[in-house]
């Protein structure tokens, strides 16, 4: 019986290959939105993800902390404007996450 249990535990791989920073649903949504564009401002992301100001802000801070997103200061006319985009690390982390998830679901039967 205990041997059988052990087998089950070895068969189910630990879920470590999924990047935990990206795996959280709200952050996954943000990353996916930023992945398909070049950059966007805070308001655009808020509209697209249906998140509140505080919620989006805190998730962006986590993503910025992980080095996945960067904040760029630009000028629109004479007014300063803040844009957000994925870093190279963020882009490759998302690609990697995508590949891993695909592998996981392809492996399910």
């Amino acid at each position: 019986m205990s041997k059988k249990k052990g087998n089950i535990l070895t068969d189910i791989q630990p879920f470590e290959f999924a990047d935990k920073v990206i795996h959280e649903p709200a952050r996954l949504t943000i990353m996916a939105h930023l992945f398909v564009i070049e950059s966007a401002d805070f308001l655009f992301l808020m509209r697209q993800t249906n998140m509140t100001f505080g919620n989006l802000s805190s998730h962006l801070k986590k993503l910025e902390g992980a080095g996945y997103v960067e904040i760029i200061k630009e000028f629109v006319g004479k007014k300063p404007h803040t844009m957000i985009r994925l870093t190279k690390t963020g882009r490759s982390a998302f690609e990697h996450y995508k590949k891993n998830m695909k592998k996981l679901f392809d492996g399910l039967s």
Partner: protein, 206 residues
């Protein structure tokens, strides 16, 4: 999660404001109104035509800057999307060049109009439908297929009515009806957009 669809959805957000529909509606109306103004008030049709064209463009650009941007924010799309926009510009330029070439051929008398239904009417109809369809495809904006039909049928109806109506009112009917329909679609989209998206990210239900 379909990433291609996500990008498309983000892109299409910018058409939800209805300003492009309004611009196209005014353009269509313009084709119908300008000849009538010339006929009724003896003002060369180019003056009201150019005035309304500038007015429509001003509404479009001012609307995008002061109404749309503060409500949905700013975004820079991928290079692939920019390439698609360049393709649309190329098709539009080609269409304008074709129209101009036909105009020159008529003006110089190289080609003569064979009434009642001349080949160039068919050519303009097909040109409008093809150009708008190409734009709809590259811009991922399905309403442009409909507007292509509107432009095509406007030319056709105006030409068919020419025999039965005195003065330039055939153009007013042909272009005016579809112009008003396009304008109403645009204004409805704009009203829905204004209700749905308050400025600067204020959320209605909060």
């Amino acid at each position: 999660m379909d990433l291609a669809n996500l990008e498309k959805k983000s892109w299409q957000t910018f058409f939800n404001d209805g300003f492009l529909d309004i611009l196209l509606g005014v353009l269509l109306l313009n084709f119908g109104l300008a000849p009538v103004i010339e006929y009724e008030f003896a003002i060369h049709y180019l003056y009201p035509y150019i005035f309304m064209l500038f007015l429509a463009e001003a509404i479009f650009f001012v609307g995008k800057k002061y109404v749309t941007a503060p409500r949905i924010g700013r975004v820079k799309f991928s290079k692939r999307r920019k390439q698609k926009k360049h393709k649309v510009t190329f098709v539009l330029a080609l269409s304008v060049a074709l129209g101009f070439a036909i105009y020159v051929l008529f003006a110089l008398g190289i080609v003569e109009d064979s009434a009642p239904f001349s080949w160039w009417v068919a050519l303009f109809c097909i040109n409008a439908i093809v150009v708008f369809s190409v734009m709809a495809y590259f811009l991922d904006f399905p309403r442009l297929y409909l507007y292509g039909m509107f432009f095509g049928f406007s030319i056709l109806i105006a030409e068919l009515l020419d025999e039965f109506i005195i003065g330039p009112y055939n153009a007013l009917i042909g272009f005016g009806v579809f112009g008003v329909i396009t304008l109403v679609i645009g204004l409805t989209c704009l009203l829905r957009f204004l209700q749905k998206c308050p400025p600067n990210g204020e959320v209605l239900h909060e």
